[in-house]
Symmetry: C2
Subunit: 396 residues, 2 copies
């Protein structure tokens, strides 16, 4: 169930609430990325304290290691990692196309060798659904081909059409399961189902592709919308294209992605990009920046990023960000955190990770409040201008 609670008058931003088997997600929402069954550097308890309402699990990584048998043995990903809130699993496609080796893509699916031990595997739309059923996520994604940037028009067009046919096959699997016609699936992988996930319905999102071509984005969005998913994702963005191209790709797809369903802009982005995406009607986001940059000593603030490795912070008694309510800012100084990062102490990256996740989650909370108040557009413009100006000054 997706309840729309408020709209912004100046933009396409909306405030809504998505109900899943493991709880409610207030949107716009940010989903911390739990790549291998752990959001890097933080514990499930810390995620709860950060008020994270949903996390993302990467199907490809979990499929490769520890493997499906292990996760099924533990009764699904929630039990395995001790996270009882909502989980969204991706289809595995993105990592197959970015990490795996010796890929062979056919209409049937993708054959590949994983990047850990080189073992061969094959994933089809049906298998992607079965794997995600076994993981037991609350939201699962259709298998898509994510083309790189830049991409030739003809390839992007053919690929987007195949992604639509794959989406149709994923939808068919989900429909069969929820109407009880699971016999065809059972013959394929008798053990994949039948665990924790069978009691509650998994929401299935389709994915719009089309690279940077507006007409392809439009066609893909229309075709995916016709399949009637529980939500609509925009994939193939933030893959190296200029920010303007990314915005245009989303703008092209958005009008054809049903407004009464959640819209998920995949794999992005910076804080200003998230607000710009919200203004363009997007509701959900996932991004590794807060955790990945933290491990390099980079912290997010309202006025851009700080690299805490810099010598200027050695004697700085201030928190990462004044008035921030995260544990790292309430208890520790920039100078101490700088020391930890320079000395390669794990606590350093833990503290910046906590702060950065708090920053992203809190930015979504602020966006929700501003939408409710009818002041989102001013907030977005002021935030983006201030962030970009000061970030630029800092980089000089």
């Amino acid at each position: 169930m997706f309840e729309l609670l408020a709209y912004d008058r100046e933009s396409k931003a909306r405030r809504a609430r998505l109900t899943t088997a493991h709880g409610i997600i207030d949107t716009p929402a940010f989903m911390p990325v739990g790549t291998q069954g752990s959001v890097k550097g933080v514990s499930p308890r810390e995620l709860r304290e950060l008020d994270a309402q949903i996390i993302l699990g990467n199907t490809y990584h979990l499929f490769v290691r520890p493997g499906l048998d292990v996760i099924k043995h533990f009764g699904g990903l929630h039990n395995f990692m001790n996270w009882d809130g909502p989980i969204l699993t991706d289809s595995g496609g993105y990592q197959i196309f970015s990490l795996a080796k010796l890929r062979k893509i056919t209409e049937d699916g993708v054959e590949f060798q994983n990047h850990i031990d080189g073992a061969r595997a094959f994933i089809s739309p049906e298998i992607a659904m079965e794997i995600q059923a076994a993981l037991g996520g609350d939201i699962v994604m259709a298998l898509d081909e994510c083309v790189p940037y830049p991409c030739e028009y003809d390839y992007a067009a053919q690929s987007a059409e195949m992604t639509t046919r794959w989406a149709k096959r994923c939808k068919a699997v989900a429909s069969a399961v929820f109407s009880g016609e699971s016999s065809t699936r059972s013959s394929r992988a008798p053990d994949a189902l039948g665990t924790a996930h069978t009691t509650a319905r998994q929401l299935l999102f389709g994915i719009v592709q089309g690279s940077t071509f507006e007409d392809l984005r439009k066609q893909s969005a229309q075709a995916i919308a016709e399949l009637d998913f529980d939500g609509y994702a925009i994939g193939g963005v933030s893959v190296g294209e200029p920010e303007e191209e990314m915005m245009r790709a989303v703008e092209a797809a958005e009008p054809f992605s049903p407004g009464d369903k959640p819209r998920y802009a995949m794999g992005l982005g910076t804080p200003p990009q998230l607000l710009e995406m919200i203004a363009r009607g997007m509701d959900m986001f996932d991004c590794v920046l807060p955790t990945r940059l933290a491990r390099n000593g980079t912290a997010f603030t309202d006025t851009g990023t700080l690299n805490l490795k810099n010598a200027e912070f050695a004697l700085d008694k201030r928190p990462i960000e004044e008035n921030c309510t995260c544990d790292a800012c309430r208890e520790f100084s920039r100078g101490y955190i700088r020391h930890l990062i320079k000395a390669e102490e794990i606590l350093g990256l833990r503290l910046i990770t906590l702060h950065n996740l708090h920053f992203y989650l809190n930015l979504m909370n602020r966006a929700r409040i501003e939408i409710e108040r009818g002041t989102f557009d001013q907030f977005r413009k002021a935030f983006v201008a201030d962030y970009k100006t000061r970030e630029a000054m800092r980089v000089e």
Copy 2:
């Protein structure tokens, strides 16, 4: 103040309580090692939740990085790292002798190049005291020379005598400070004092050396005891010598280390070794094993260590140790932790570190209770026998 609360009748074990400027330490006590201003992998909040009553800070590491100026700027180590419980700082000697390069030891002190950037530095007994005054630890250690194993008798004898002379100079600095005659120190390093630590008295412990030679251990213990310290440490143990030699070194020194003061066996050891040391009259311990082995996937249990990387744990739904009350054991399975370690996820080493520190701290708590009950010796014998037997079986 050191209050002796109970003695074991079958051994030299005692249960006591040491009062410091930042709080009480119940002994026998284990001190987690905060090498570079952070106990590796855990936060101060987690240390408090683990009921750690005191942590150790390594003077050498902090002197090299971030450097004294930084820590003084933040008002001492407690403020810098946000730990308001007791801290013991070592003298820096051990790391100078084990990590630094191009050491030149003279009667005056040690010249060395640090292992990080090769910068030259000189530490004398007086300077070691000044550095520790600036760090602001509740317990500080006299500068000693820690000789390697094996060590020739003549060198060990001369070194132990010099360590005694250095101890006398450290004691003289402390006596001057607390009688107000700090003019000689101020002339050496005017900024070293005058911060957080001046309000409360720092306890100063002397260190017994003498390598593996019983007569030298006895002579060193007698000479150090004559200087009247607040506590007595046994150094130069657990440096590669056989366990029997270590036990004999401690047994030789103990009768000459005043019984009304805390006794600290430095830098050890395994869980059975700690209980054996308690039975030999030792009160305080520090050791990197719980944190260091955790980073390698090794967990401590009553029946020996488990290497959680082993394939046998992949499907193991049990906690690291049944009935353990630590957060790692209450919330996570061996199988999940194994996955995290194999996937090099930080949460894996965090969880094992938490468990291992809990194990060591709880072992001391159990020892204290057994001493109070008059059942320590049975407890020790049963624990040691079971631990060693099962550990041996596991290794086979």
